[in-house]
């Protein structure tokens, strides 16, 4: 991220200096404004889901989810850490039922739990799974198409499912293979 950030900012900055020097500051301020707006939107999503997830946690529901997924998390993530398992299980469940907004806080908690054991492998694997999208129903896209007057808004469901599966399976396989061969 450091390298990408430096290269993109330096290169764009240089180009803007030559083409439109008066646009540099407004662009930065616009970016900051967008980040503030996004943070507000994200807060709304997290307030709803983290409130609910706290109830799931306190009532023992997320422990149940963790137990159900334990064989998977043991084998795939190679972790025995209870708290990490619980967060992993909730992250995967939220992703699958299509509430991606709720999935992020769980992933962040799982990553910090895994950090305690120094389990870099599981952290990166979790990132790979989440970053290739494991959403089963692309709700946003279907809603968007329906509102644009599509006659069959949900007909992209099957292609999306296939593509999601392909990207996740390919990335997980490549990562596990790379980890075995070169310890990435």
């Amino acid at each position: 991220m450091n390298i990408i950030f430096t290269v993109v900012v330096a290169l764009s900055g240089l180009i803007i200096t030559f083409t439109a020097p008066d646009k540099l500051l407004p662009a930065l301020l616009d970016g900051a404004e967008n980040s503030a707006k996004t943070a507000l939107t994200l807060f709304c999503i997290y307030a709803v889901w983290m409130g609910l997830s706290r109830l799931a946690e306190k009532s023992g529901l997320s422990k149940g989810a963790a137990k159900a997924l334990k064989p998977l998390s043991k084998k795939l993530f190679r972790t025995e850490n209870e708290a990490a398992c619980e967060n992993l299980a909730m992250n995967l469940s939220c992703n699958v039922i299509g509430i991606g907004g709720a999935a992020t806080p769980y992933a962040v908690k799982a990553v910090s739990e895994l950090e305690k054991d120094g389990n870099r492998y599981a952290q990166k694997l979790l990132f790979v799974i989440n970053a290739t999208s494991i959403q089963i129903i692309p709700t946003t896209v279907i809603t968007l198409r329906a509102s644009a007057g599509s006659i069959a808004a949900a007909d992209i469901f099957l292609p999306s499912l296939i593509c999601t599966a392909i990207s996740t399976i390919a990335a997980v396989t490549l990562y596990i293979l790379g980890h075995k061969l070169w310890r990435i």
């Binding site: 930065l28 706290r54 790979v128």
Partner: protein
Amino acid sequence: MAYIIPVVFITVFGFAAFRKVKIYDEFSAGVSDAVKFTFSLIPCLAAIFMMCELFEISGLSDALTKLLSPFFSFLGVPPELTRLILIKPFSGSGSLAYLTEVINEYGADSYIARCACVCFGSSETVFYISAVYFAGLKTKKLAAPIAIVLFATLVSTVVACLLCRIM
């Protein structure tokens, strides 16, 4: 589909009440976690959004789009989608805005729009996720996982454009 979220809510609330959890107290405690969590995200959000804005204004994104279009058409991906594919790893809201534009311009049931929808729905904001997940950690070394994810996304994009032709 519309029932999933209400059912999830009612189940969790009902189960918590059954287990005699102090629902109001715990729910607000969860929201207070959300406040802390959102604040912890702001630094990386601000940096990434500023970078995106510079990338856009400087014309670098246009140049890159032009540069990569032939490569994408070689793989069977319509050049109209290059921009979407480039923006998506960085910004969810930015790519959603562009997706809306594509749908409005070409029509919701056109080949281009369907491709765009499948690509959008089956990919994620890779750089954003990497920044958020690993924000608090010291050693990162994420270059290889990011490269793998981007490659897998490219493969699924190519498949998406193929599938939209036949399905």
